[in-house]
Symmetry: C2
Subunit: 286 residues, 2 copies
């Protein structure tokens, strides 16, 4: 089935998922949206993240996508249910695949999760893990400085190591044997984190696990594209395309092409009557 | 003149300016808008910052404000000209007052500026300083990690000190004798920064200087309110009011009341025909 797969994230982080998707699903065309005008999502409220996620999905639906990947831990944690309810195509987020992998990997049933404040505050990973392994102990730790550190390019060095040690200390004290990298920025810190934790702690890259689940789901729904790739992947962003291409190539591990900026406010104004965004009565968390 | 003063910022940082305004203009009512749904501005493009600033101003104009304070270094650096061109009320930003104070304070004419990537990239402080002191040497240093550190509440401690030392090293090597805190978050780091630099380097708090300039301008334009304060200050935000009140009280040094969340997307859709936002032909920097 030649229709493309839609992927969205608040910014560049989701490109770590794109990288994995390209690897294991080389014949699928991807349409990516990075909401760089409103990045980050991880410090914002649940209500707002749900609104943003619906708007991002509406943008991608224009391309007749057959499948939606929420390549953002924050949006997967706070908005996956509402997306599944409102969209008529299959939706996969990064939380469940990461939780599944952690449950398969742990030996002592003590699992740590690191992520943004919104992701950890939502307890999404904890809920997913406990569904699969009710006697697991799950320890979440919000790490709001890690995204800015990655975007500054400080992937190693004293500041990053000290920050990581401070964030990871409570997880190490509780002797977790598995830690989920619950943010698509964190795989870039994986070597430093592994070095700090030592070889006995397993790290789970949710993005990598998600790509695997996307492939399985496409196969079971008979949505896999059997011909060659129908067109190049397209990337859309709500702020500067140049800046996204520069930072994004670090995440993708190769130069980024086909990046276009769109005026997202204009898009929303034009689509203010879209049923997808209507009757949005989720209670505001305040 | 009883009409209120409008103040906007991308988030809570502008409250450091509010604190100073309340101190020296106790009879003026302030209407504050913090665009917390789209914070931060400092990592975003010039074109987008200009658009956001016009939208923020449009929101405040509803309250019949007599004066606009751009309490955000990033917006002052990238959008002050367009705001002055398009609004029919006086507009003051934080850059010129900070530059003025630095020029008065320096003895060796070597001035450092720290701020967000957008503020430093715009060279706004350099241009303002050179207008006043053409033979000054100005050294700008973007410090993208400082805002997240302040918001995490890590105002001192090893991580913050190491980060500051790394950022400040090039300024210290060049022997600047004055450094402008070119971001409204940075006054919370002032004691730590002063401790690292030692007593021979003067720190300029742009917010404090701006409040002084606002008072002078109001007086010269005969816009000062001579009666008592006509009403309590009001605070509007585009994301969670609770979260803003919590973090904001740290910036203001007292509990924050009268905070209301507004749906900014809805506001923009309703006002999509506003002339202020039209014919916005600034070239996109890409």
């Amino acid at each position: 089935m030649e229709r493309p797969i839609g992927v969205f994230d608040s910014g560049v982080g989701g490109l770590t998922v794109v990288k994995q998707l390209n690897k294991i699903l080389p014949d699928e065309q991807l349409i990516y949206f990075g909401d760089t005008a409103r990045i980050p999502y991880g410090t914002k409220s649940k209500r707002l993240i749900q609104q943003f996620a619906l708007e991002d999905a509406l943008f991608l639906l224009q391309f007749n996508i057959k499948f939606l990947v929420v390549a953002c831990n924050t949006a997967s944690s706070s908005a996956l249910e509402i997306l599944k309810e409102r969209l008529h195509i299959p939706v996969v987020g990064v939380v469940e695949p990461g939780a599944q992998a952690a449950v398969e990997r742990t030996r002592n049933k003590k699992i740590g999760v690191i992520g943004t404040s919104a992701t950890i505050g939502s307890s999404s990973y904890t809920k997913s893990i406990l569904k699969l392994m009710p006697d697991a102990q799950v320890l979440g730790r919000p790490c709001p400085l890690l995204v800015p550190l990655v975007e500054e390019g400080w992937l190693d060095g004293e500041v990053t190591r000290l920050t990581l040690k401070k964030y990871l200390a409570p997880l190490m004290e509780q002797k977790v044997d598995t830690i989920i990298l619950g943010c698509t920025h964190y795989p870039l810190l994986e070597p430093t984190i592994q070095d700090i934790l030592g070889p006995d702690v397993s790290l789970i890259d949710s993005g990598k696990e998600t790509a695997r689940v996307v492939k399985e789901t496409l196969m079971s729904l008979k949505l896999v594209n059997s011909g060659g790739k129908p067109g190049a992947d397209l990337y859309f962003v709500s702020d500067s395309a140049r800046q996204f291409a520069e930072v994004g190539s670090r995440f993708l591990g190769r130069p980024l092409e086909n990046v276009q900026r769109i005026d997202f406010d204009e898009f929303l104004i034009k689509n203010s009557d879209a049923p997808l965004l209507k009757n949005f009565e989720v209670l505001y968390d305040e």
